[in-house]
Symmetry: C2
Subunit: 146 residues, 2 copies
């Protein structure tokens, strides 16, 4: 549970209107620990009786992505999910058990892309790296349960 104010602040800074639905979506995102889908947010909103249209959730997500406050990730299942994150280049480590997500800068990557560029002749423009595993919390929970 982070603070939705970071997203709201980013909106304000970029000159977008601070509307009620956008605040609501930012809150819902802040209240989620790990990754989530657009459908998750729609359900959350309905459960809390905060009426936000489906289209609005998609529009808000799109906007937040543009502001780099949220990023899209692709789960191994092929599903599209989103994660709240910092606006700098980084990658995500995703717990396949509890969905919790951590950001890493993965400084080793430049060496890898340079190597690939040299071997293939491609001019590398961007890359996407997603790591899946078990987070420390789930690891200890698992071992306790024997």
């Amino acid at each position: 549970m982070t603070d939705s104010s970071a997203i709201v602040a980013a909106l304000d800074r970029a000159g977008y209107r601070l509307t009620e639905p956008r605040r609501v979506v930012a809150d819902l995102i802040a209240d989620r620990a790990g990754h989530f889908t657009a459908a998750n947010l729609v359900d959350d909103a309905r459960e809390r009786r905060l009426d936000v249209g489906r289209a609005t959730v998609f529009r808000a997500l799109e906007l937040f992505i543009e502001l780099h406050a949220v990023e899209r990730v692709d789960l191994p299942s092929g599903e599209h999910a989103y994660v709240e994150c910092e606006p700098v280049h980084h990658h995500h480590v995703i717990c396949s058990q509890c969905a919790r997500t951590t950001e890493v800068e993965a400084c080793g990557m430049p060496a890898v892309t340079r190597d690939v560029a040299r071997r293939t002749g491609f001019k590398i423009q961007s890359h996407r790296l997603e790591l899946f595993g078990i987070c420390p919390t789930c690891q200890s929970a698992n071992s306790r349960r024997t």
Copy 2:
């Protein structure tokens, strides 16, 4: 343009029936240089008057993925695409101009995942790395056209 026989052979080896539609889908895939979507294959089939049902294309793709003859990749646009590939762990370098795809082993990765594991405490199980750039062919084509 590779040879569809690799896929067909894999089917046979795994004990699946070698049906006409599966051969057709394997051919269509072999005739594509880079990545493709399920819809691409359906269109290709229709154009060539090779009647293969939509459902069958999806089933064939699913099967080929299980046999590791084809792999799913996620384009930066969020689209799901597929690429033909070898059945060993590797990554794809995708040309954002012509969709041509190359496989690399990206040997630098183990160091990166080890580093990430150490810093985050996660037990890394798998990772997904996709590189996007301009392939040598497109690079020279671009510079010639000045």
